[in-house]
Symmetry: C2
Subunit: 94 residues, 2 copies
Amino acid sequence: MAVKLADKDIARIARALAEPRRFQILKEIGATKGGVVSCGELRDHHKVTAATLSHHLKELETAGLVETTKTGKFMTIALNRGVLDAYLAQLQKI
Amino acid sequence: MAVKLADKDIARIARALAEPRRFQILKEIGATKGGVVSCGELRDHHKVTAATLSHHLKELETAGLVETTKTGKFMTIALNRGVLDAYLAQLQKI
DNA sequence: TCGACAGTTTGACAATTATCTAACTATCGA
DNA sequence: TCGATAGTTAGATAATTGTCAAACTGTCGA
């Protein structure tokens, strides 16, 4: 069974998902093979500044929905399916 | 298979769920037998004015997550599990 | 070492929204 | 019919947040 999320975790995840751009980003990551994407790829698909993108990624990361790893200059963002699934499991139980 | 939701529908549902009080209300409705609750019961559990509660119920209804029926002076709110499930199904596919 | 590049942080601004009060509509019982 | 009660609507306010520009940090190649 998945981890039980506290109410505040659920709220944070829900807020992260409620922003259309972040939802899109998440779908984009999930659609790639391996569930991994580079920051540059995201910038190509979203007409926002790097600052804005950075902000959104931080929201997703704080919510636990993605994990980022930095190798040298570049960053890769990976979907954390475990957290997403845990969130869905909680909603399922409503 | 559940109904396919448009992106804007998903966004609306996600926003409805992202508000802690609304999430709580939804859980409360779901916890009752039959998935139905009266407006007064909600007022007992939430320390907000009737106006605020009305606002939240409208958000949930617009999102399709609940359906309300008015009989005389009173209102009953029912969880619409179909919409919730459709939302979860979409997230599942990410 | 230096410049270019990837991403972050900070501060500001605009849009959204949760909340309240007050006034309103509608229904029921006396 | 009147008063009380259930819920809505409108307008105001405060908090949150998506966005940008500008300045910053860290890394690589020349």
